[in-house]
């Protein structure tokens, strides 16, 4: 619309002027049209009534053939200046009389038409002359409309003048009225322009009325207040953020899309050894050309393009430092947070190399230890094995000696021979135990699910047969099955049960209990007796090889049994432990991992 580019006040005025103009023009047009049509109608009606009067008056003149009279009657039309021509026709259509006199040639030829019509500037028509029922003739009458036309033209001019006057009035009134509407809007617009120009959000528009513009002003002011408070909050946040950036341990700087430094914190400046003024607005790659094509360069470019953050650790050879950097897209550019982790990197290096050294030492030691162990084992095996042959000879020859020369020896010699035989046997026993102990270390474990209840029962059956008349109260509770090597487990149970039998030997009413339970990922079994027990003070010696808590005289034994038990259980990933008090019995526990 053509109004669109106009200022508001002109729009308002245009609207008012258009409205009033349309109203004025429509009113005047209506008036003129009305005037035109009524005038025409009035003119016809007037002429018709004049015609009627003249016709009525002319009847007698026509009836009694008196043209003078007719002329007199027509001459009365002088009073009507607009009537320029009139004439009477007799019944046969001959001209009877004419007005003004001598204008007969102007009369139209008679025809039988009736009524009035406009013909050019004239209104004219034929009117029948009738008296009673008898048609006596016809009247022709012609009226000049020029005057009416003149009057109409005058009306037209007056209307135009009125319209112009009305529009001028409308212009004056509207130019005053529009101010009432436009002033608050213009003042609002002015305030808005000021605000956007000066960015001073503390400005407020003045409210003039309580209309819609008033509420618009209120809304505008509220918006300004909102913006102001948000600005304050934003500024505060900006300062907080700045403080954070400046105060944080990392170095920070940000770049715009053209790689210019837009912000930088103290730590980064200190690291670069520059001042803020030297760096801000500079293109980073021009300031630090050595970084071009570096990992930094590549990562910055990648973040700048992909707008996804990156995190990397890079070594700057030129400065011999390690940098841990995070690059984040920010506005059009990127933000870089980084720290010098050279110290940590060095420490890490040191720890790693120390660890490596340590591992090497441990491995070496382990190898040495394994070798020593191997040696020791093969040594003890070979020693035991090699010792057995001479011992067997000693034992064998001692038996032959006792049989062959027993009768020749006296009692004291026989006692000595017995002592030799006994010790040779005992030594053989020791060597056997040692051999089995070292064999156990090499034996492959064949693990499977085994019923500990069956195992314990069969072992107890054998052990009971060896007891000659001892009365032992043996109870075996329900035992969970175990996942273990059957042969070595038999060894464990045999050892523990025979120990219980052995150390209850001096009790009149010996009690041996066997039990077990599942506990977490382990199964635990125990053997409890009410035998002689031991002092927990010596517990450390309990599972050592050849370590004994009782004398040979008190209880027989080589001191290898519990060491073997411990070894077997360790090889199964289990443990063995004990709880005892002297003369109050002992309880031996062992645990095995469940499958």
């Amino acid at each position: 619309m053509w109004l669109a580019p106009l200022p508001l006040k002109w729009k308002l005025m245009a609207v008012m002027l258009l409205t009033s103009g349309v109203v004025v023009i429509l009113t005047l047009a209506t008036f003129l049209a009305y005037e035109f049509f009524t005038h025409r109608k009035t003119a016809i009606s007037e002429l018709s009534s004049i015609g009627s009067i003249v016709a009525s008056n002319s009847t007698a003149a026509l009836a009694f053939d008196s043209p003078q009279e007719a002329a007199e009657i027509l001459a009365a039309l002088r009073a009507e200046s607009q009537i320029v021509l009139a004439g009477l026709y007799d019944e046969e259509g001959n001209v009877f009389s004419v007005y003004p006199g001598g204008a007969a040639d102007q009369l139209p030829p008679f025809n039988n038409e009736q009524g009035y019509a406009l013909k050019g500037a004239y209104l004219e028509g034929f009117h029948p002359v009738v008296e009673g029922d008898v048609r006596l003739g016809t009247l022709f009458i012609r009226s000049n409309m020029a005057k009416a036309k003149e009057r109409f033209q005058l009306y037209f001019i007056l209307s135009g003048v009125m319209a112009v006057g009305a529009l001028i009035m409308a212009f004056i009134v509207s130019s005053r009225l529009q101010k009432r509407i436009s002033r608050p809007i213009l003042s609002l617009a002015k305030t808005a322009a000021q605000v956007s120009e000066s960015r001073d959000y503390s400005l407020r528009a003045t409210k003039e009325n309580n209309d819609e513009i008033g509420s618009l002003t209120d809304a505008f002011n509220n918006m300004l207040a909102e913006i102001e408070s948000q600005n304050r909050e934003l500024q505060a946040r900006h300062i907080r953020l700045g403080n954070m950036v400046q105060g944080m341990g990392d170095s920070y700087f940000s770049l715009d899309a053209d790689w210019r430094v837009t912000d930088i914190n103290h730590r980064a400046l200190a690291q670069m050894n520059r001042t803020r003024e030297e760096v801000i607005g500079k293109v980073i790659w021009e300031e630090f050309p050595q970084l071009v094509e570096s990992e930094f360069w590549k990562e910055y470019h990648r973040v700048m393009e992909d707008r996804t953050s990156a995190s990397f650790i890079s070594y700057l050879e030129r400065y011999s430092i390690w940098i841990d950097a995070r690059v984040l897209p920010q506005d059009d550019g990127v933000a870089i947070f980084y720290s010098d982790i050279t110290k940590y990197k060095r420490a890490e290096e040191e720890v790693r190399s120390f660890n490596q050294k340590l591992e090497a030492v441990v491995a070496k030691r382990t190898r040495e230890l394994e070798a020593a162990n191997q040696e020791l084992e093969s040594f003890s095996y070979s020693v035991s094995h090699d010792l057995r042959a001479p011992l067997r000879s000693i034992h064998g020859y001692m038996n032959i000696f006792a049989e062959e020369y027993g009768s020749k020896l006296d009692e004291e010699a026989m006692r000595l021979v017995n002592i030799i035989q006994h010790n040779a046997r005992r030594m053989g026993q020791l060597i056997d135990d040692l051999l089995s102990f070292s064999r156990l270390g090499r034996r492959e474990l064949m693990k499977g699910t085994i019923s500990m209840e069956d195992l314990v029962d069969s072992i107890w059956d054998e052990l009971r047969k060896e007891q000659d008349g001892r009365d032992i109260d043996f109870t075996r509770a329900t035992l969970p099955p175990a996942f273990a090597d059957g042969v070595t487990m038999r060894h464990v149970w045999t050892n523990l049960l025979s120990n219980a039998v052995k150390y209850t030997g001096r009790k009149a009413n010996a009690i041996i209990e066997v039990g077990g339970r599942e506990e977490g990922d382990k199964v635990i079994y125990f053997v409890r007796d009410n035998g002689s027990g031991f002092d927990m003070q010596y517990y450390q010696k309990l599972f050592g090889v050849f370590q004994r808590l009782h004398s040979q005289e008190e209880f027989e034994g080589t001191g290898v049994g519990l060491a073997i038990v411990q070894r077997i259980l360790h090889r199964h990933g289990g443990t063995v432990w004990a709880d005892a008090r002297p003369d109050k019995g002992a309880t031996f526990y062992f645990s095995l991992p469940r499958r």
């Binding site: 008056n57 009847t59 007698a60 003149a61 009836a63 009694f64 053939d65 008196s66 009279e69 007799d90 019944e91 046969e92 008296e131 009673g132 029922d133 008898v134």
Partner: protein, 181 residues
């Protein structure tokens, strides 16, 4: 009407129908007078009791010598005034005068005329004549010639006293003459 008369004349003369002589014999003067007689019917008002019926004929009587021949009959033939058809009656003697509205008195003798008109005074009858003393004798309308035109002399008082109203339009055309009684 004139047209019809002309047409009739033309028809009569050309076709040689019986009576054409009579029409032809009527002088122009009487033709005009015949027409005038007819027109009087339009410009005169009779009292309400002149007509006993709505369609009772309006009678134009001719007393004495008939100077109109058949022309008057032709003029009024088919015409009517306010629903009253026009009729022509001829009376040879005053005694014969029956009910009529317009009477053309073709009587010459002054004394005779005066007596006759006196007799007719009480009857609502428009008396017309062309005797120069007709008005003086008590008649209402007299034809006279002036500059070769037929003109009228009217005594409105006589008409009024008989209960007749003569239209002012007619009066305007005529010479008004009220004889001293």
């Amino acid at each position: 009407m004139m047209f019809r008369i002309l047409w009739t004349c033309l028809a009569l003369t050309s076709l040689q129908v019986q009576g054409s002589n009579a029409a032809a014999q009527v002088p122009d003067e009487y033709k005009v007078k015949a027409v005038f007689l007819f027109h009087f019917a339009q410009f005169v008002e009779w009292p309400d009791d002149s007509f006993s019926r709505q369609d009772e004929p309006m009678v134009i009587g001719v007393l004495g010598e008939n100077p109109f021949g058949d022309y008057l009959d032709e003029v009024v033939s088919g015409e009517s005034i306010k629903g009253h058809p026009l009729q022509v009656k001829r009376f040879s003697k005053p005694e014969e005068i029956s009910k009529c509205h317009i009477l053309f008195v073709g009587v010459d003798g002054m004394g005779q005329l005066r007596t006759l008109l006196k007799d007719l005074e009480s009857r609502a009858m428009l008396t017309v004549g062309d005797n120069p003393a007709f008005i003086r004798a008590g008649g209402m309308i007299r034809f006279f010639s002036e500059d070769s035109k037929i003109r009228l002399q009217i005594n409105p008082e006589a008409a009024r006293s008989s209960g007749l109203m003569i239209s002012s339009k007619l009066l305007r055309l005529a010479d008004i003459s009220i004889p001293k009684s």
